[in-house]
């Protein structure tokens, strides 16, 4: 079947990336910068100073009304009732079979207004999923096309915000996974103390027409402190070192959150939600496989899709992500192994395109910032 060629979309920051020398690649239907100066240098900048990322391609869904909280909580595995106004949580949304439709951040703006941020690659699916569930219960808006999102990450992120005037200095008081409205560089925005790098930092929502001004201001203010614009390449190595799942790699509609190590976002004690019965069955039956972190002990780099073998050379699992970890200084990866093999210290083999390279299960995250 022929797939219709849809034109790639550009974020409001496209011209900024080109001006900064970003190498643009297609990603989830968008033209996005994969790198500027280089993955390793951008990775280091985020760990040691700061990095700024264009994440405008992500989806923003807004549910409003007296029953919005119930609709949201019915679609996610975590418990949104724990949130107060201005607080967010990480969760997944499952299908009835208990496998993962997407991973999300859910923001409680108020009891009657909720924001859901979903992956760019799942935007149409999740938009339809929430829209259908909202019908006859609350208002639904897919605000993705009018909402820009910029991530500022790294140990200097809050110092850079403090230079941006307006509410910048006060944002240092914002607790992790909380958010508030603010004005930065004269742009009205919403700032959340969240991220996808393993570092301190924020993700900033603003209207499309303010995004370029905000981005340019933060780049200019951050440069003297060591900030670098960072692309999808560094975003991937940073999240891998921090053992944050990537949809399409660690998690998808063939994986359940329990085997993916996301049991902490599954609250089986809450009221009924989509996938609950299936997840209860998975839990009762015990997990046949688990997502593990591993280090290559032999000379090789595991990559997404490489088979994982037992000592007899039989394929027993699959690598979901792998690359050199620039900060940890080792070749690391994530993958699914049978539960008996998924123990820290146990060796196994990665089939690196026909080469059998030794690896060992290790504790994760590979990298944890000192606080």
């Amino acid at each position: 079947m022929a797939t219709p060629q849809t034109p790639l979309r550009r974020t409001p920051l496209y011209d900024e990336h080109v001006a900064l020398g970003g190498r643009i690649v297609p990603f989830a239907g968008w033209e996005m910068p994969v790198q500027y100066k280089g993955v390793t240098e951008e990775h280091r900048a985020v760990r040691e100073a700061a990095g700024i990322f264009d994440v405008c391609h992500m989806g923003e869904l807004v549910l409003t009304g007296d029953y919005a909280a119930d609709v949201v909580n019915y679609l996610i595995t975590n418990d949104a009732r724990r949130l107060i106004d201005g607080q967010a949580l990480y969760t997944v949304a499952c299908n009835q079979g208990g496998t993962i439709l997407d991973d999300l951040i859910v923001y409680r703006i108020s009891q009657t207004k909720w924001l859901i941020v979903c992956n760019a690659s799942n935007r149409d699916k999740m938009s339809a999923h929430f829209r259908a569930a909202a019908e006859n219960h609350c208002e639904f808006e897919d605000a993705s096309d009018r909402t820009a999102l910029i991530a500022l990450q790294g140990p200097k992120a809050m110092s850079i915000l403090a230079l941006a005037g307006g509410d910048g200095p006060a944002l240092a008081e914002l607790p992790t996974f909380h958010f508030r409205d603010a004005t930065l560089a004269n742009v009205p925005c919403t700032v959340a103390r969240t991220g996808y790098t393993g570092e301190d930092g924020v993700e900033i929502f603003c209207p499309n027409d303010g995004a370029a001004q905000l981005f340019r201001s933060l780049v200019a203010l951050g440069k003297p402190l060591g900030l670098e614009p960072a692309g999808l390449g560094a975003r991937d190595t940073l999240r891998l070192e921090a053992r944050l799942s990537l949809y399409g790699n660690e998690i998808d509609e063939t994986t359940n959150p329990l085997e993916a190590g996301l049991g902490w976002v599954v609250k089986l004690g809450k009221d009924d939600f989509v996938g609950k019965a299936a997840l209860e069955r998975f839990k009762a039956a015990g997990l046949s496989r688990k997502l593990v972190g591993f280090e290559m002990t032999g000379r090789g780099i595991a990559r997404h899709g490489y088979p994982l073998l037992d000592s007899a050379g039989t394929k027993v699992g699959i690598c979901t992500s792998g690359s050199p970890g620039p900060t940890v200084g080792k070749n690391v990866g994530l993958g699914y192994l049978p539960t008996p093999m998924a123990e820290i210290g146990k060796p196994f083999i990665v089939d690196c395109r026909g080469r059998s390279i030794e690896a060992v299960v290790v504790k994760t995250p590979f990298y944890k910032r000192s606080s």
Binding site: V34, Q35, G38, V39, T40, H43, G233, D236, T237, R299, G300, I301, R303, S323, P324, P326, N331, R353, R355
Partner: protein, 131 residues
């Protein structure tokens, strides 16, 4: 525009081939290195004495973000392998045209070299690749 050396020939896969006495040294170009980024691993799958056919893979090169095959530009017998790259893959970033040669081939048919892209043709190819 990436560096193109006038003393050798090129492939559309961004390898170079340079005559050096009775062998031809093979490596990858500055453009290839720039596309790959920081090189983290070079795997040469052949050893001296192996016979290579033009267009066949003789190894892989990996950067932080990706893996790429290395193709033999010409046919012949492998004379030497640059084992220094095993422990120092970063040589490819530092000096892809000289110290980071990968293998030396004793060509089975020297005229194959003439069939590769000359520096002008490779420069033209890079102009198209840049867009």
């Amino acid at each position: 525009m990436s560096d193109v050396r006038s003393d050798r020939r090129y492939t559309k896969d961004h390898e170079w081939a340079k005559e050096d006495g009775n062998v031809v040294l093979i490596g990858i170009t500055a453009f290839a290195v720039d596309q790959l980024g920081d090189i983290t691993l070079v795997n040469i799958d052949v050893k001296p004495g192996d016979v290579l056919t033009a267009g066949k893979a003789f190894g892989t090169i990996e950067s932080v973000k990706t893996l790429s095959d290395l193709f033999a530009p010409i046919s012949g017998k492998v004379a030497r392998v640059n084992t220094e790259l095993d422990m120092k893959p970063e040589l490819v970033n530092d000096d892809c045209f000289d110290k980071a040669w990968m293998i030396a081939i004793e060509p089975s048919d020297k005229s194959e070299l003439g069939g590769l892209l000359d520096p002008d043709a490779y420069t033209e190819l890079l102009k198209t690749a840049a867009h």
